[in-house]
Symmetry: C2
Subunit: 144 residues, 2 copies
């Protein structure tokens, strides 16, 4: 089923006028296979290269991420420190609670932010992209 999702990504890229190449296939497969692992550009790079005979450059990974984002298939989220994490757009939307001490990241449902999003939009004319940020704090093990 990872292959199905990867195929869908590939086809969507093609439909958007992007070329389908071996590195992109590997990247999309890695993305589909590890979709809930909070992939970063560099872990995605590693996973993609693992499925590929040839070397894949990290810049190719970034350019493919750009292509997928332009096609609306992928989002990146900035956790507090560290690199951005990647999420496929057709996933269950969720937010991230990231512990600033240990980096533990908990997923929470999008619903928990909905009222907030709405009131902020009304009051400030600002549309929160609720898939684009993490809520930083302390997990139970690191309170205080």
């Amino acid at each position: 089923m990872a292959d199905v999702a990867a195929g869908a990504l590939i086809e969507a890229l093609r439909a958007d006028g992007f070329r389908v190449t071996a590195p992109r296939r590997a990247i999309c497969e890695a993305l589909a296979a590890h979709h809930d692992d909070h992939l970063t550009a560099s872990t995605l790079h590693a996973a993609a290269e693992h499925r590929s005979v040839a070397r894949i450059d990290i810049s190719t990974v970034y350019r493919t991420i750009d292509a997928l984002e332009q096609a609306g298939l992928l989002h990146h989220v900035h956790l507090g420190h560290g690199p951005a994490v990647l999420h496929l757009s057709d996933h269950v939307q969720h937010h991230h609670l990231t512990c600033e001490v240990c980096g533990l990241t908990i997923d929470i449902g999008i619903g928990e932010l909905e009222e907030l999003t709405q009131s902020v939009a009304e009051r400030h004319g600002f549309t929160i992209d609720s898939g684009h940020f993490a809520l930083i704090g302390r997990c139970r093990a690191h309170e205080g």
Copy 2:
């Protein structure tokens, strides 16, 4: 009054066992003078050097930021992209709405997040550090 606040920072540093040096004085003064300008390490560096006869190294700024954070006098917030912004802890707490297109940053009151913070804490055993992240989205000029 900027000097009063700067003096308070300096005294707090001293009380915490940190040494008070010329660069730190300049940094604290700059911090007190520009507290609502969304300072970053590099703009703080510029402002501090401006008030100083001698050169101040950017690494000294980062180390002083660390000291102030250890003393609980300062927080840094990660806006989506770009560098972290700095806030004095004794300020009116607020959040940031950052437009991912133009970087416009709107301050919103802490109260708007309170219910959310509380329910998340209860449900996930996670304490949101509501001074430590920005809410990324689109401002009115860049909706859609």
